[in-house]
């Protein structure tokens, strides 16, 4: 089943930059996909369009059955409830505890209190932070904060998890910890799309990898087929 379909997608920003050009891509349920490429290749734009932070100028984008390209601003929440998003800078509420940060995603859905409690505790257990539920974000390390962000992204059981450089601010060991958590989540059935420029991770995990260049797909390596060609691509 194709969870994400992009057909003939173009994105041109108002300042004239063509970030994405004629892009076709399908991602199936349960896949783990890396999106790599040099700075400015359009990889951020690509996934921003998936969670409808940006609208494509042309083309069709279907995410989990919703036509994102035609999704009205007031209906964006319908998409956001089907997906989880994780960022480089975590985007946690500093004045709320770990528990509250994760519970926030369920509160806006109007779930009852005890259901929220159970779900939050369960997901914190999954990311290994149950013991820090009452701490505030600034009392946690970067890796821990990212795990809270992941917990928040998956707490309502989304089909898709979108990660925008989730390890960008973390050292190598911590990055690998995060990747372990993400792989765990992927095994539980969540499709993951991750933008990264960390080729060590890509090399190590050997997932399907999409190499972008100037807004086009340069290569689409199947699972386990990734070879580092970065030296050839430097211009």
């Amino acid at each position: 089943m194709n969870l994400i379909v992009m057909q003939g997608v173009n994105k041109r920003y108002k300042n004239g930059v063509n970030a994405i050009q004629d892009l076709n891509l399908t991602i199936e349920k349960g896949e783990f996909v890396f999106v790599i490429g040099s700075t400015g290749c359009g990889k951020s734009t690509l996934i921003k369009m998936l969670y409808r932070e940006e609208k494509p100028t042309k083309g069709k984008i279907i995410v989990g059955g919703l036509n994102v390209a035609k999704l009205r601003n007031s209906k964006v929440y319908k998409l956001r409830r089907k997906i989880g998003v994780v960022f480089q800078d975590f985007k946690l509420l500093p004045k709320s505890t770990v528990f509250e940060n994760v519970a926030f995603a369920l509160e806006v859905l109007g779930l009852p209190k005890d259901e929220i409690y159970h779900k939050v505790i369960k997901v914190l257990e999954l990311v290994g932070l149950k013991h820090k539920a009452k701490n505030y974000p600034n009392q946690l390390s970067g890796g821990e904060q990212q795990r809270v962000a992941i917990a928040r992204a998956i707490v309502n059981g989304p089909k898709i998890l979108i990660c925008d450089e989730p390890t960008g601010n973390l050292d190598e060991n911590t990055s690998m910890e995060i990747m372990t958590v993400l792989e765990e989540i992927n095994k539980l059935g969540t499709t993951i799309i991750m933008v990264t420029h960390d080729r060590t991770i890509v090399k190590k995990l050997k997932k399907r990898t999409i190499l972008l260049d100037s807004g086009r797909i340069l290569k689409d390596y199947k699972k386990g087929k990734y070879v580092d060609e970065s030296n050839k691509n430097i211009k």
Binding site: Y51, R52, E53, N73, S74, V76, Y77, K78, R80, R81, V85, K91, L92, L93, K95, F104, A105, E107, V108, L109, G110, L111, P112, R152, N156
Partner: protein, 301 residues
């Protein structure tokens, strides 16, 4: 479904309460902005309502005094009355005979009493009068002219010119007051919008995260709108207190009247509470509108 809506709403109200106090210094800016406006609005309303009241009192008091010919008889008086009744703008007619007028004058003044005490129906130089009240004060001149034409009418008096001027002045004051109130409400709505925009800017991240985790736009707006409502409520406390105590004090001090006993101030009792209700409503409306406008900006992507 409805339970869910109730839960979401109650969480929204809780969060908006929290945020008023959490961002207190910024809330204070909005509150003082509303407070100052509402004070001026209160003043304008008090002024405008009182002027309105003056107009009504003056209008009620304006009488066209119709002096009849000195030698008019019973039948002639009846004839004039029938003619008067034909005029559209006339509201009430009452008759005062020359003897009644003499009695009134003698009661009021000792000297008159000495002179007038031996006047009788025949010898009195005074004239019988009809006291005429009009419906529309603006038409008083026309009505007076109509009365003048009636046979048996000698002189018509109604404080020519003065009354219309007074009434139109009151009318102007009233309009200016309404204008001020309206302008202030609009200006405050903008000021509040901007003040709250600053508050919300510091919470841009919060809105971003709310959107991210799937809060609908209404869901995001509601806490901010409630917050605006609370700000409006808090901002109206001081103006209401000032209105209630201030107006009562002024009323007592001026003995309830201005210049003369004709022009009376509106009695404070239900009046101050009516104003208070108006102030609360304006405060809440302005606060809500401001918040709603401010948050809209961050929901457009």
């Amino acid at each position: 479904m409805s339970m869910r809506a109730i839960r979401i709403l109650s969480r929204n109200i809780r969060d908006s309460f929290k945020s008023v106090f959490r961002n207190f210094s910024l809330s204070l800016a909005s509150i003082s902005c509303i407070t100052i406006t509402l004070l001026v609005v209160a003043l304008s309303i008090v002024l405008s309502f009182n002027v309105n009241n003056f107009t009504k009192l003056v209008e009620k008091d304006v009488t066209i005094v119709t002096f009849l010919d000195v030698d008019i008889d019973e039948a002639g008086r009846e004839e004039v009355l029938t003619e008067l009744k034909k005029i559209n703008n006339i509201d009430k007619i009452s008759f005062e005979s020359k003897m009644e007028i003499a009695d009134e004058m003698m009661d009021a003044n000792e000297t008159y009493k000495n002179i007038m005490s031996d006047w009788d129906e025949e010898s009195s130089p005074l004239q019988d009068t009809y006291l005429v009240k009009v419906k529309d004060i603006e038409q008083i001149e026309k009505t007076a002219n109509q009365i003048k034409k009636i046979k048996g009418v000698n002189i018509v008096k109604y404080g020519e010119g003065m009354i219309e001027k007074l009434v139109s002045t009151f009318d102007l004051v009233n309009k200016v007051c309404y204008g001020i109130v309206l302008a202030l409400i609009i200006v405050t709505a903008f000021l509040i919008t901007n003040t709250i925009k600053i508050t919300i800017f510091s919470r841009k991240r919060e809105i971003e995260i709310m959107r991210l985790v799937g809060a609908s736009n209404i869901n995001i707006k509601i806490p901010f709108i409630f917050e605006g409502l609370f700000l409006g409520l808090l901002g109206s406390i001081i103006p209401i207190a000032v209105t209630i105590y201030g107006y009562k004090a002024i009323y007592t001090k001026m003995d309830g009247q201005v210049f003369s006993s004709i022009i009376k101030l509106v009695k404070p009792m239900p009046f101050v509470f009516e104003i208070s209700i108006i102030l609360v409503i304006i405060g809440m409306f302005v606060g809500m509108f401001g918040s709603w406008q401010a948050v809209r900006k961050y929901l457009k992507i």
